[in-house]
């Protein structure tokens, strides 16, 4: 469902935070709306969402809360997405905010109260299919939330570095839909990240990727590392998962360079899986061919 191939919106707001340093939800919602409109070349978000979510479809927001409250998908961004969907006529009851375990969701502050939609861990929502789904080198049981409960997958990962896969932004977050992610971290996760994204059910349902860069991290991931986290105060939005990750990679690389850190390639963890994913036809991995649409304060 890559309806805007090769396009990524990079949206930042230098005034996203208030005097207290906290993200201001109205500005974040506004930033999201601008990004969605820009991506869809739509006059309003309702028009954008009508191309992503068909009437009556159940929507799953796959978040990333491995790193706990300090570096997970933020409840503010999820709430903004839920509200935006609601404006477009998708009721909160048709939306599930989802990750591997209820415990992790709760620890990240992703509750129904905070997000405006139901939050469920795979562990409490039917677990995994018993049959194995295969894609390339990957063979895994898939979360039933993905296979049975939702028709549209919106992937909301975090803009961050990853110790093994290079970065964990959108596609790497899809490891959360398989039961055995620990088996797929060799060789800087290549081809495994691409293989997971190429699972037929993922490919069919993944409609939109959003990278939460309100707080981003250029080194020391996937856990929170305060020394390497920075207030990027932005988001990336796209339907092309490869292009979005490639742009996110560039943002992280720039930050690493500015901080005197070796490049991901020098650190021997350049995400080779981007090129693999592109070879599967999942999206555009060549940055020169990606159309980056800058919104607000840009990339």
């Amino acid at each position: 469902m890559n309806i805007f191939p090769g396009k990524v919106v990079a949206a930042r707001d230098a005034k996203l935070r208030g005097a207290d340093g906290a993200v201001r939800p109205p500005r974040l919602a506004d930033l999201l709306a601008k990004a969605l409109r820009r991506l869809g070349e739509a006059g309003d978000t309702r028009a954008f969402w009508s191309r992503i979510v068909k009437p009556g479809a159940k929507v799953g927001l796959k978040v990333n809360c491995l790193a706990g409250a300090r570096l997970s998908t933020t409840p503010q961004l999820v709430r903004a997405v839920v509200a935006s969907l609601a404006e477009a006529g998708v009721p909160a009851g048709d939306i599930v905010v989802w990750d591997r375990t209820a415990r992790e969701l709760k620890a990240a502050g992703l509750t129904s109260q905070a997000t405006g939609a139901g939050c469920r861990g795979t562990d409490e929502a039917g677990g995994y299919e018993t049959a194995i789904a295969s894609s390339g080198e990957v063979g895994s049981c898939l979360a039933r939330i993905l296979t049975r409960d939702i028709g549209v997958l919106i992937n909301i990962g975090v803009l961050k570095d990853h110790d093994l896969s290079g970065v964990s932004i959108g596609m790497k977050n899809l490891y959360g839909v398989i039961h055995n992610p620990n088996k797929y971290h060799d060789n800087a996760c290549d081809p495994y990240v691409a293989d997971v994204a190429n699972l037929p059910v993922v490919r069919a349902k993944l409609a939109l990727t959003i990278a939460d860069g309100t707080l981003a991290q250029c080194h020391g991931g996937p856990a929170f590392s305060p020394a390497h986290a920075w207030e990027y105060d932005g988001i990336l939005v796209g339907t092309d998962p490869v292009a979005l990750d490639r742009v996110g990679c560039e943002i992280i690389e720039r930050r690493r360079k500015a901080r005197g850190l070796p490049s991901l390639a020098e650190a021997k963890r350049w995400p080779k899986w981007l090129a693999t994913a592109a070879s599967y036809g999942l999206g555009e991995a060549d940055l020169a061919r990606v159309k980056v649409l800058e919104e607000g304060d840009g990339m």
Partner: protein, 373 residues
């Protein structure tokens, strides 16, 4: 496999182990909250910069970042402290015949309290227990069964042994070690049923407390190990040699898979290696494969293939060669290499060891190696 697991859990309940064996709800079903189980410090790792660790339990030597787990899925880095998530977290528990392990030269006819946790450090495409070995602990039902309780249960059920089995006990090293110590204090022996994919320092500690080890030798080429197990052959061979050197009782199982690891040349080389490096008295079991997990396109091993392998092993000079998963076959029994008498006859799990007296053949008096009491 799921049915098999359910059946032994039922059997556990029937044997009075209901408190120990929660009904397994199968892969992917809601599991107990992690908080019900203790998280214990892992052993055999080294700390690295930036809160990373390198696990040195198995040859994989996973380098694990904070908040991540190793390949096995049961050892987790928590802020630079490496931990095991499966200490006492038993997902399978049953009373089994020791022959089911299989161990044929170890307390014949005895039972073993058999325990497993989630996790494995390989991923065999033909895994017969993948619904526990290839899942993470929080994904499958489990009950808290601390080491002392295991030993207590074994004693209460008249089982002279605890078997660490079904999944891969190497990955629950700390639990296994502590349980073996607890068992030894009650004169309950411990046996490890393993893939042998473990580094020597950890294996050395285990050999101090285990009475027997059965290792699955999954093939005899690196290519097979790499393609079908995601492991390596050389470290397994090193582990076999180490166990043999330590004089912990050792038996070997080879799951014969048609066209993949049953070539005459490969088997000949394997059997010669076993005879030469481990000794001709090392029991070798050739077991019949059934399509399972990710290898379902190959039919079960024909009996003729098993019998061919048996002949190769005998020709290589191995004295004790068995066929598994073929109930009623004469190669289930133990024969005296000196006079040919059947000293232990078996039919499935039915065992008659009356022709073995004090570890010697009742016919000619030749000693038969093993642990007989």
């Amino acid at each position: 496999m799921a049915c098999e697991r359910r059946s032994f859990l039922k059997a556990a309940a029937a044997a009075g182990l209901a408190a120990a064996a929660a009904p397994c709800r199968g892969a992917g079903q809601a599991a107990e909250e992690a908080s019900e189980f203790p998280v214990k410090p892992a052993r055999h790792f080294v700390a690295l910069p930036e809160k990373r660790v390198r696990c040195e339990l198995c040859p994989r030597k996973c380098e694990v970042a904070d908040r991540e787990r190793g390949y096995c899925g049961v050892r987790e880095n928590r802020g630079g402290d490496y931990t095991t998530l499966v200490w006492g977290r038993a997902c399978s528990l049953n009373i089994d015949p020791i022959e089911k392990k299989p161990l044929f030269h170890f307390l014949p006819g005895a039972t073993a309290l058999s325990v497993a946790t989630a996790g494995c450090n390989m991923e065999c495409k033909f895994c017969q227990n993948w619904e526990i070995s290839q899942f993470r602990p929080e994904q499958i039902a489990a009950s808290f069964m601390p080491p002392a309780r295991l030993a207590e249960l074994a004693a209460a059920r008249g089982a002279p042994a605890i078997a660490y089995t079904y999944s891969e006990p190497v990955v629950f090293f700390e639990y296994m070690y502590d349980a073996a110590v607890a068992g030894n204090a009650r004169k309950i022996k411990s046996v490890m049923i393993s893939n042998g994919y473990i580094l020597e320092p950890a294996l050395a500690e285990l050999c101090d407390v285990l009475a027997a080890v059965k290792i699955d030798l999954k093939g005899f080429t690196e290519k097979f190990y790499k393609e079908y197990t995601k492991g390596e052959l050389a470290p397994v061979l090193a582990a076999l040699k180490y166990v043999a050197k330590r004089r912990v009782w050792l038996e070997i199982v080879v799951l014969l898979i048609p066209s993949l690891n049953d070539g005459a040349a490969e088997l000949t080389e394997m059997c010669a290696w076993i005879a030469g490096e481990l000794g001709p008295d090392t029991p070798l079991h050739f077991s019949r494969y059934h399509p399972m997990y990710k290898l379902k396109n190959i039919p079960p091993t024909p009996l003729q293939s098993l019998e061919r392998a048996h002949a190769v092993a005998k020709k290589a000079g191995l004295n004790y060669v068995y066929l598994g998963n073929v109930a009623g076959h004469e190669a289930e029994s133990t024969y005296c290499p000196q006079c040919g008498k059947a000293v232990i006859t078996r039919y499935g799990y039915r065992v008659d060891a009356r022709a073995l007296t004090d570890g010697k053949c009742a016919g000619c008096g030749a000693p038969v190696p093993g642990v007989w009491e």
